[in-house]
Symmetry: C2
Subunit: 416 residues, 2 copies
């Protein structure tokens, strides 16, 4: 996954690139009293690229960001957890705009009344934000902005059990460039995002913000983010439910002051590799922290006749209730995988079909290799393993990072 | 649901129509020692109509029945539970044909070596049938054929907790005509069946056999079954997984000796009503007995712009892991329903959207009616309730009988 020469992982997160600060506070939107409001702030205005849920029902902050992002000159992002501000009508949209304005005012010490912050919300759907609490929270978060710490990553957590963050550095044009990111999962996870929030593109709320001090034009930045999301966040599923709020934002403030990265350049390729690494690692942290899960499964479908068929088959397998229950039970019940491919509508020939677990063949030409059953039983007792299904019909393939379905998941999602 | 004048429910099942007998025995295909082999036998050859899973991967008995049914002259059905005979290659197909032949031989006391029995299997996928046990079982079942009892309904059960059966009588052309049925669920339940086992038609193995002594041609019988299945078995889901084995068979032996029911006749309409009742009641028993479930939900989507959009929306809601968990938790988390409609791709306008629980409005024009929240909380504590989502955009509607998702379901499906 890691290209050894082009970049290094470093400690830190969204604060790692020059000119960025962040904070996270308890604004008491959550009943628990845990942190629930975060700011990312850049000293200089940023180019921003974004990808947004293709769910036709978009939460208010997604609607706001889709419009605001086009105008440029963005100073940061304000996040809240505990309330998704989705299904909240005109009032919800107004509240998002107000959050943006409050965040701008608070971080510019009242010098600007513009709406220069993007907004991300996650939590319960259908309830209006407690705006007085939000206002206090934003002011406190602005006062506590810092180039250190993990409080922003903590404040965007909902059912997440750990804060998700990463940072890398890379040399471009003789300068050190940094990329840092934070993300949250952990249920309603099958992101499908595109730059315009429209199909096609496939399916938690998952939220992610990535910062960089690299110098790129907005269109190049957006292309980079689209590629990074296509191989990371859009390739994960926990429960097959695509949220109204899924958002990935990439903020570039240009403070590394190298020559702008141009299309077709080797520097762009290296920036892309580093960004892909950041995005994939954050996406995999979301899968690993999926609600109540006990297994992480890297699923591959290959040998499909078309790309669409590979995609249909892999989504059917990765979201099948029964397949996921069998993983939870450490039962190599490959018949359920077979069944899911069948109802996905993907063409299939049993005489060319094989399934491997961590490279061990369990099904060959449609029949079980009983001699390998014991080995496969051992493999699926591990906390993570890979399953590759070869349809043997063509050259198209797809990959999906998925999980099992557990009693704990049901318990966690029964109530609020 | 019941038209008071055209038919009456009577006690019994597939034995109720004249000339049918059945039996069920323990052939020890199941490790538990419970009954696992059943026969339905008609003294006279039958016209048979069938609907079969549209899963592209069909179990051996489905492949066999699809071909055999065309030739007519069928004497009955042999069922086994405990083994699905799916993903079993050429050997599996051979075993199905052998089961048909053995059942014919045993019930005709060796007079016929033809393959005049249809075959239905349900259970684990990917394992060959223990044919010696099956042979013994078929012979014992043939010896114990009877016009009484529920042993056939019991022998087709897998994770079912009760035997599913029904019978009705109706007067056609001055004669009493009877229809009886048995069925089994209870997991891998989202049947999608068509007469040729091909798309389109939507998505347990669920198995069902219905018998009648009515006199109809095979094409008319098939039309009746298609209509009955469209409003019953094809409108249920427990877990969204469509089986390789789903089958509904309708056997008509003509022993009521009335004038044949013709297309366009009032008699046909009354026969259809009675058949619909039988099919819907058996389908609802499957839902009620869904693996580990605690709630039965009658879901309706109305006001959709197109029939396809109504269908997409209702399948997304009825199979959403998160929606189903919230029902289990008795939490009216309608935001998850909203979210599922959104990712189904169905057009939606929040300002015309409403949701009712047992007729009580919880969401009107996209906003929660908080005054009704307490009433709705009471409703969803019941073991069954209805939810109607009105998109307010058109006149198309769909209905789906579905269930919650429980910890018990996961537990039941972790292993074999």
């Amino acid at each position: 996954m890691r290209s050894p020469s082009s970049f290094d992982e470093i400690s830190g997160n969204i604060n790692a690139p020059k000119g960025f600060q962040s904070s996270g506070v308890a604004a008491h939107i959550k009943k628990s009293g845990n942190k629930d409001l975060a700011l990312i702030f850049s000293e200089k205005p940023c180019h921003v690229a974004g990808t947004f849920t293709v769910n036709l029902l978009k939460a208010a902050p997604v609607v706001f960001d889709l419009q605001r992002i086009r105008k440029g000159g963005i100073l940061g992002v304000v996040f809240n957890s505990g309330n998704a501000n989705a299904c909240t009508g005109a009032q919800g949209l107004q509240n998002t705009a107000t959050m943006s304005q409050w965040a701008t005012e608070a971080t510019t010490h009242g010098r600007s009344k513009r709406k220069d912050f993007l907004v991300c919300s996650t939590g319960r759907i259908g309830i209006q934000l407690p705006m007085d609490k939000v206002h206090h929270g934003i002011k406190e978060a602005a006062r506590t902005l810092s180039q250190k710490g993990t409080s922003a990553a903590e404040a965007i957590m909902t059912t997440d059990t750990f804060a998700k963050q990463i940072a890398v550095r890379i040399r471009l044009g003789g300068k050190e460039v940094r990329i840092g990111g934070i993300a949250k999962g952990a249920g309603m996870i099958q992101p499908g995002m595109s730059a315009k929030g429209k199909f096609p593109a496939l399916h938690a709320t998952m939220l992610c913000a990535i910062t960089t001090d690299a110098v790129l034009s907005q269109p190049v930045l957006q292309d980079c983010l689209n590629r990074a999301v296509a191989q990371s966040f859009n390739r994960i599923t926990v429960d097959g439910d695509m949220s109204t709020n899924d958002t990935v934002l990439l903020l570039a403030n240009g403070q590394a002051h190298h020559r702008p990265i141009k299309r077709g350049s080797r520097d762009l390729q290296r920036f892309q590799e580093a960004l892909n690494h950041v995005a994939l690692n954050l996406a995999l942290m979301i899968v690993k922290d999926g609600e109540g899960i006990s297994k992480v499964v890297t699923l591959e479908v290959k040998g499909a006749a078309t790309a669409a068929e590979a995609e249909n088959a892999i989504r059917a397998i990765g979201n099948s209730t029964l397949v996921k229950c069998s993983w939870c039970g450490e039962d190599p019940n490959w018949g359920r995988i077979w069944d899911a491919i069948g109802y996905s509508g993907t063409r299939f020939n049993s005489s060319t079909f094989s399934i491997e677990y961590n490279g061990i063949l369990l099904v060959k030409n449609g029949l079980q290799m009983s001699t390998n059953l014991k080995k496969v039983h051992k493999i699926i007792r591990r906390p993570s393993f890979s399953i590759a299904c070869d349809l043997g019909l063509g050259k198209h393939r797809a990959i999906l990072y998925t999980t099992d379905l557990t009693e704990k998941y049901v318990e966690l999602n029964k109530g609020e």
